[in-house]
Symmetry: none
Subunit: 232 residues, 2 copies
């Protein structure tokens, strides 16, 4: 999950940029780099990073200006890195919208810890409200909670039934082959056992379809596999 997090590094000096990239990338995070303020602002807009690491001492558009410009439209956490440790510099940056301020030299593990704090904030903002749900007619699938409802009623599914449905939901509208189900759920050793899929799909339909003989949700594509309707 947080393996997918994207960090934007805005830093003009090459050695420092390398250091930051190595540090951040070495911890399961993706890195996007900008060598100037303008580029940084553009990448913040195009890549929607989860956190921004920003060096104040940029040539051209300086770090404070970058902060101000990004804050006009985005609330992505910004961690400022600076060689200047004067209090008034910190106050200015923080009041302009930065979320943290680190003075060089700093320790690698402190930076990472503060990065985790910022990611926590970013993640919380993203996770506010209810879970993302897939709704189709009377069927409701909450992949985050692992809960399935039909006409508002919770339906109990066994592990295999749930995984079948989750696969269908994640690829709603597309046809999934028997082979695909077998690979994803039973692993590579089960090829050819198409009846596994059929039996469990039948159980699944019995639980979520009103009339399993006339399925509304799970459509069988004869000779190929199954497909989940996207329209009611």
């Amino acid at each position: 999950m947080s393996d997918e997090a994207v960090i934007l590094v805005i830093e003009d000096e090459v050695p420092m940029r390398r250091f930051l990239r190595a540090l951040v990338a070495g911890h399961g995070l993706r890195v996007v780099e900008a060598a100037s303020g303008e580029e940084g602002i553009a990448l913040a807009a195009s890549h929607a990073p989860d956190v921004i690491l920003l060096d104040l001492g940029l040539p051209g558009v300086d770090g404070l200006e970058v902060t101000r410009r990004i804050r006009e439209w985005s609330e992505t956490p910004i961690i400022v890195i600076s060689a200047r440790g004067l209090e008034e510099d910190k106050v200015r940056a923080l009041d302009l919208g930065a979320d943290d301020y680190l003075t060089k030299p700093f320790g690698a593990s402190e930076l990472l810890a503060r990065l985790r704090v910022a990611l926590r904030h970013a993640g919380r903002r993203a996770a506010e409200g209810a879970d993302p749900r897939f709704v189709l007619g009377d069927l409701e699938v909450d992949l985050a909670a692992r809960v399935v409802r039909v006409r508002g009623e919770e339906v109990h599914l066994t592990p295999i039934e749930y995984r079948l449905l989750a696969l269908l939901v994640r690829h709603a509208g597309r046809v999934l082959t028997h082979r695909h189900f077998l690979r994803e759920i039973w692993g590579p050793g089960a090829s050819g056992q198409d009846h596994y899929v059929r039996v469990h799909m039948s159980q699944l339909r019995r639980k979520i379809e009103e009339d399993p003989a006339q399925p509304r949700y799970v459509i069988t594509e004869t000779g190929v596999g199954y497909r989940l309707r996207t329209d009611a």
Copy 2:
């Protein structure tokens, strides 16, 4: 709006506490003071402050423990103040849930600026329900007070039982896997020991369920984990 903001100061040394109160109160913020960790936790629950200023070097329940305990039910920003500037101290506090870490001595205006950052974060989250109590049928869990009641009667839980229940409450309605419980409670070294979870979950049910064989609250999802009902 921010004229109404409440800052909780948890600090045992009187001069420092006076200094912080004067500083914060002089900027249109209300101050609530605690002289110990226990008091701090209690006031955090009863006064619902917008930001918490926490000294790490408390006697008795120390600052790290205070952070951990508050984070069990609340996401109020915590700014840690400490005489210790070692990197590992910072990392530990931040990873336990603190949002910022200031090393003494620090400048007054920097503290205020970081306080404004924390208030910004708190304000963004102002729409939060704020009641850290979970009620479901005859079961009542007060994460702030660390108290569990069944039909009004207080129930004594062992540490592990309580943490199991607290996890369930914090993710009420979602299925939590065995792996998740093991990681959160026993740490990364305990993977594969699913029976830990089963044994303690059984003890927990014996204490909170009327009929453990027909659980009303803790639902088992065979092959996956457990889930706490959200509806009666």
